[in-house]
């Protein structure tokens, strides 16, 4: 493999690994802050123990999210130097702002939260976790404004042989990026909701700490339901935005080869990229694809053949990733709706199968978020910045494939150990349950 292929593989692997930790972080800090606030307001001792129990799991997960994020910031320079040089004038700003505005806030106040139990009033201590939540979610905003610019570049001109920012407001108010942002954080909230529901379900099955875990379960079910419903709406708007701004990506997401008006949604599709067609197309819902793409039943949906082969993203992973994400997204609404409806003690105790189901559902939001990013980033190919710079044009010129082999091999071994350690610790402390009051 050459430097380009290796660098792509390395970026994909490290970004996906990083995003195993981010979604839970995004949502769990809010749930912990909420629990502590209830404790401060009502003095309910269960809520204090909940705060400490879920807070501990939050910390284990957070540690890996932080350190694996470093790798990504480094790689823009190490592996994608030509990219960094060409777009740094625009792209560097949101990254630097993310550090200044968000990273300081989250890391500083997380330390205050961890060590400050005896040094702050209850109210101030709970505020620390709210500030962490603010930092965490703002960090998502700035990094996604950066990514959103790669998806839909705005506010720049080409000058001095590179992209230069001319309109910061356009970058910050990039509608497409804001949709991505809400999509990402809501997916994180669903992940955290299912995590808390699943772990609570496990304890409820064991009939341990029933009161405490019922309270956690109910909160998480409501949080997941609200988030997954909102996610449906944002996902729908994102789809329209992609169809408008990245038509080749949209065509690949649905494996549409021919451009057509009044396009139906084909429930059963088997893509055949070699022959530029689908080998199976059945179970069609009339007008549905046109409606999904542009909210109009008679709209024209561009097919892949409309684009030169060199400008098309790889169809199969994008298509499969999208179908996986959509199916899981629907499932999350169903499961969290049921969970919310069932979240009375007698209901749940009569339905151990449902609790078991929720334990097994813990990994599903992870799968969905990975699939979602696969669609976003693979679907952007062959562009590094959509319509502006190709991925092949961004790779470092002074790096050898031996160097990238070396870093990639080390990263894989290192990350495998870290991932195993993290899962081991999460499982250990999740099973152990809350400490005595």
């Amino acid at each position: 493999m050459d430097v380009l292929a290796l660098s792509r593989l390395q970026f994909a692997a490290t970004a996906m690994f990083h995003f195993l930790f981010v979604p839970l972080t995004l949502g769990l800090c809010i749930l912990v802050a909420w629990m502590e606030t209830v404790y401060v307001r009502t003095g309910d001792a269960d809520h204090l123990r909940m705060t400490r129990f879920w807070g501990k799991l939050f910390l284990i997960n957070f540690a890996l999210g932080v350190v694996t994020g470093l790798t990504l910031e480094f790689q823009f320079g190490t592996n994608w130097a030509r990219y960094a040089r060409y777009v740094g004038d625009v792209f560097g700003a949101p990254l630097a702002i993310e550090a200044t505005v968000a990273f300081f806030l989250e890391s500083t106040f997380l330390a205050v939260w961890i060590f400050g139990w005896e040094r702050l009033s209850r109210r101030a201590h709970a505020s620390a976790m709210w500030l962490v939540s603010l930092g965490v979610n703002m960090s998502a905003l700035w990094i996604i404004l950066a990514n959103g610019w790669m998806q839909h570049p705005v506010g720049y001109i080409i000058s001095n042989g590179r992209a230069e920012m001319v309109d910061f407001a356009a970058l910050v108010l990039n509608y497409h990026a804001w949709l991505q942002f809400f999509h990402t954080i809501l997916a994180g909230y669903v992940t955290a909701g299912f995590f808390v529901m699943g772990v609570s379900a496990w304890h409820l099955l064991k009939k341990k700490e029933t009161v405490l875990f019922l309270k956690s379960f109910r909160l998480a079910a409501l949080f997941s339901l609200a988030s997954s419903l909102a996610l449906f709406a944002v996902g729908d708007l994102s789809g329209v935005s992609v169809a408008r701004l990245q038509p080749a990506k949209f065509a690949a997401m649905e494996s549409v080869w021919e451009t057509r008006v009044r396009a139906p949604y084909v429930l059963l599709t088997v893509p055949d990229p070699v022959n530029e067609r689908n080998s199976v197309e059945s179970l069609k819902i009339p007008y549905m694809l046109s409606f999904m793409a542009f909210h109009r039943p008679d709209a024209e949906v561009k097919g892949l053949k409309n684009f030169p082969a060199a400008d098309r993203p790889p169809v199969l992973p994008v298509f499969l990733g999208f179908r996986t994400m959509i199916a899981l997204g629907m499932l999350f609404i169903l499961l969290s709706g049921l969970a919310f409806y069932f979240s009375k003690r007698e209901f749940l105790e009569a339905r151990p199968w449902f609790l078991r189901l929720l334990v097994w559902a813990i990994p599903l939001p992870y799968l969905a978020t990975q699939a979602g990013w696969l669609v976003t980033e693979m679907g952007r190919q062959p562009w590094l910045v959509y319509g502006l710079m190709r991925t092949s044009e961004g790779v470092s010129e002074s790096v050898s494939s031996a160097q990238v082999w070396g870093s990639l091999a080390c990263l894989i071994v290192f990350y495998a150990v870290l991932g195993a350690l993290d899962i081991y610790l999460l499982a250990k402390f999740a099973r152990k349950g809350p400490e005595a009051a």
């Binding site: 350190v67 040089r85 505005v101 300081f104 330390a111």
Partner: protein, 340 residues
Amino acid sequence: MDYVKLWFGLWGVLWAVYFALDGFDLGVGMIGGFVSRGDEEKRSVLSSIGPFWDGNEVWLVTAGGVTFAAFPGAYASMFSWFYSAMFLALFGLILRGVTLEFRGKVSGPVLRKILDAGFVAGSFVPALIFGVAFGNIFRGLPVGALGYEGNFLSLLNPYGLLTGVLFVVFFATHGALWISFKVSGPPSARAFALAKKLWVATGVLVAAFFIVTAFDTGLYTNYIGCKYLFAVPLICAASFAAARFLAAKRPDMAFFSSMVSIASLVCTGFIGIYPNLLPSRVDPAYSLTIYNAASGPYTLRIMALVTAIFLPMVIAYQFWVYRLFRLPLTAEELKKSGLY
């Protein structure tokens, strides 16, 4: 206003602040094991950096991010030219964060020993590599018509190694001073004794750095052009000397002196390379300067505005946190944190 010059100043200050702050917790990572006996003492030493180290490390991320935003040409070149070294530093930083956070959560003395070793290595490696990297930048890099002509081994020239060792030993001294005033009991006395020895070693290395710099680099050219600039290396030397004489009576002031000394040492180098960011040893025409590696004036102005608003806030709340945790953590607080 000339935003390029302003950003060179900010860029230098951010790196200097990073080294002055993270320097002590990297140092504690390196020498903490030598001044503590038994798990109880080790925990109290680690807990002395607990509330601060992560906030300190964000200065690195910010310095990196600002290099990207303000000088994308320098960011791209520095990271890709130093590819292998950068990944080594990265592995060190990851290892350090994870081992410290997970130490108190694993059971079994063997696993804990492994994590402790990882924390030492993870503190030592980034300190060494940043020292070697900045030493090479101060010295000038082999950049010619065809771009970068060096490799990982060419970074390990005598001057680069000197600055690498200097960073390691200086940070170790800095960390020992921190322990001597932040930790109570026997580790404090041992750290004080160690700091006195390390101070001598650091002094020799700082002197060697100032002397070799005259022969192996062009750093002093700017100083000869403007004699007032010599104030910065003089502050470095004076505050370094003060650290020794204050150590017995006012260990806290000794620590601050050492902090000032580290910051001004790094600034001494930055002033010397100005207006270059990555000077070429081959021919100045190939140097990356604040003019040919910078972002446009629009981006620099936006970034200056953002920094002017948010950086003072960061400094204010980090200062507040240092005050909040000025007294060592109690056993109860440590237990509640679930760490170490």
